[in-house]
Symmetry: C2
Subunit: 387 residues, 2 copies
């Protein structure tokens, strides 16, 4: 079995209880997120809201017969879910040498704070999360391991651009951003009010990561079906988001932007661009559209992420080998951890991927997209790592 | 170029003005659909509603630079849109020897009548449409050309089953049915209230055709985007519908049902089943699900339709060659007519499809699925056909 150098384009931080209580201005702390205990369970509270912690969020590596979506306490979770020092050990032990990180309590694209009534508090919470990631989480690993990924103030694109610049100055390489703003009650991405965000990301080479489930819409075709049906269909959000952006003015006006569809999968892409191009050619005349095909926008501005798709990875040349990145999804139930080496090797072998393409998909593409060098492979493969 | 025998799994009737006025009981006729003229335009009126006719519905073969979605009069449409004798000539001239037909005014799955206040009137309108198709439209072509496809009373599954039996007695082979009932305000397909419909279709070997756009939900991620964006994303309805049904109890309880995803395309399927199986295996334990994988349900109970997918047709062995049917989509803007022979040959050649698989996809699979023999090929290729 090859020792693969793995760059994970999608993992998740479970925020420890102190994130906002140590970083939000003191006068705001009682309304900022904090953990309370009641009847033996732990809850997040913020403003006048209370949330729960999902069991499925921190179960990587567990037997599938044991997992369930019941709420858990921090002490029930794997330590690497919320402790960055342990996370670093877990990642390196699995041969994962770089990791793009998404938030949990703020939701993957920070949309929790969009719902806050007090937008000064919300802004402070966004900054606190970003500072925590950049100042505490990322430095807990060796250089190269944790890719600083931030969120921003979605309700104010001008302030959002300023926060992107502030974080880029501190080393941020990626922005977690919603798949679609419309279901969140915001202007669409076709509206030029978002231009400050696009401009900031293009100017600072900050990658826009659009994770599944961030549009505020989860496909739920049957209310009484198990949640698994919605989990399966979450990729539809990536299809809709990518086609929307391929056809939109965004990448036509900002041709150096990079959009990543995190946890979106890869197998649907050939169909999406084949159909989008066909429709573009048939309807562009009366729709007042230009000659740049949706597929050309995809091949210039967009990237996809794969956990395990041994069947659809065979279609990589129709997708573009340079468009595909591997992801681990630690510590969620879909994660390959702690068997990333074995499962990734099996997927590459099943799809008959030659070595140069394995290198591109397992880490090379992500190094180029995020403009980021992975951690020293000796840390994973040269020394014993305690887990 | 091969002379292909083509079985189109999806074409559209534009109903002429007399359909309901000659068939609905006289006392109901003033509230049944009828055409009125105002300011030089023609409109359908029914109950207290007024609809328009979409230009894009009857433009097959037109230069794409000339088409637009503006309302048109019958006299502006191609005659074959609403005249079955001309339709037969058009089909045969293009080498199309069988054609599954969907309604237009009632919407593809007859959901217009679901919205009627007067359900007796609605029931009469469903019967009138079905009788029109079976008694007038289909006999206007040679034996084998027009496959009798009907609608039913969606608001009453027991009456719906009775209508399916009545139409099956008269020769109906297919039922146009919604992709998803939930957005239409009806119980989900996981609810056993639909069992009479499933039972009737299974007992009479009537194929359930779930056309894109029939769930009452059109993906519209950006309100101000051209309609083309929604057209492109309509296939998402097939993805959601098929995965929903693969995971549902329906085909587990009625293992001989046949579901066809009309105009749904083919290229997304390998990804859908790869992901659905993966999620099933990971979540079945706490979800209380059985061991029959979603992909097994697909390969037993479901079929897909392709207009032109030269790229994704290469994936046919991951889909199942026996699952794929060709469609013409006459007289809509996506139609291959009047170049079906050329375009189908080009698609098969681009995807490197051998002759036996060409026969299966172009007509053989559909003959088996619909239990229907195509018209005599001599009618298309042996004699000159006036158009």
């Amino acid at each position: 079995m090859r020792n693969l150098k793995l760059f994970s384009a999608d993992d998740h931080i479970i925020e420890p209880a102190h994130v906002w209580q140590t970083r939000v201005p003191a006068a705001m702390r009682d309304r900022a997120p904090h953990v309370v205990e009641e009847d033996g369970l732990e809850y997040w509270e913020y403003e006048d809201q209370r949330g729960t912690t999902m069991g499925l969020n921190a179960v990587a590596g567990q037997d599938h017969r044991a997992i369930s979506p019941d709420p858990v306490r921090f002490s029930d979770m794997m330590l690497g879910a919320y402790d960055p020092t342990q996370r670093a050990k877990d990642m390196l032990a699995d041969g994962v040498l770089a990791s793009v990180l998404f938030p949990t309590l703020p939701r993957f694209a920070g949309t929790l704070f969009l719902d806050f009534e007090d937008k000064d508090l919300a802004h402070a919470c966004v900054r606190a999360y970003n500072d925590y990631v950049i100042e505490e989480w990322c430095p807990a690993g060796p250089p190269g391991l944790f890719v600083p990924t931030v969120i921003t103030t979605l309700w104010d694109p001008v302030a959002a651009a300023a926060e992107i610049h502030r974080c880029a100055d501190l080393g941020a390489r990626a922005l977690s951003f919603p798949e679609n703003s419309v279901p969140l009650g915001l202007p669409s991405y076709w509206d030029e009010s978002w231009n400050p965000v696009w401009q900031a990301c293009q100017d600072r080479d900050v990658v826009l990561c659009l994770h599944i489930g961030t549009s505020g819409e989860v496909p739920k075709p049957t209310p009484e079906a198990p949640a698994m049906l919605s989990f399966t269909l979450l990729q539809v959000g990536s299809i809709i988001s990518s086609v929307n952006l391929m056809m939109s003015p965004v990448c036509r006006a900002y041709p150096d932007l990079k959009f990543v569809f995190s946890e979106g999968g890869i197998g649907w892409l050939p169909n999406a661009i084949e159909r989008a191009d066909r429709m573009w050619l048939r309807h562009k005349h009366y729709s007042g559209l230009d000659d740049v095909l949706p597929s050309e926008v995809f091949r210039r501005n967009m990237y996809l992420c794969m956990i395990e798709e041994p069947v659809c990875l065979k279609y990589r040349h129709d997708i573009g080998v340079d468009r595909i990145m591997w992801e681990c999804d630690y510590p969620h139930t879909d994660s390959t951890w702690p068997d990333s080496q074995r499962t990734a090797n099996e997927v590459f072998d099943a799809a008959g991927v030659p070595d140069d393409e394995v290198e591109a998909i397992s880490y090379g593409n992500a190094e180029r997209v995020f403009n980021w060098n992975i951690a020293d492979p000796e840390l994973a493969f040269g020394t014993a790592v305690a887990t």
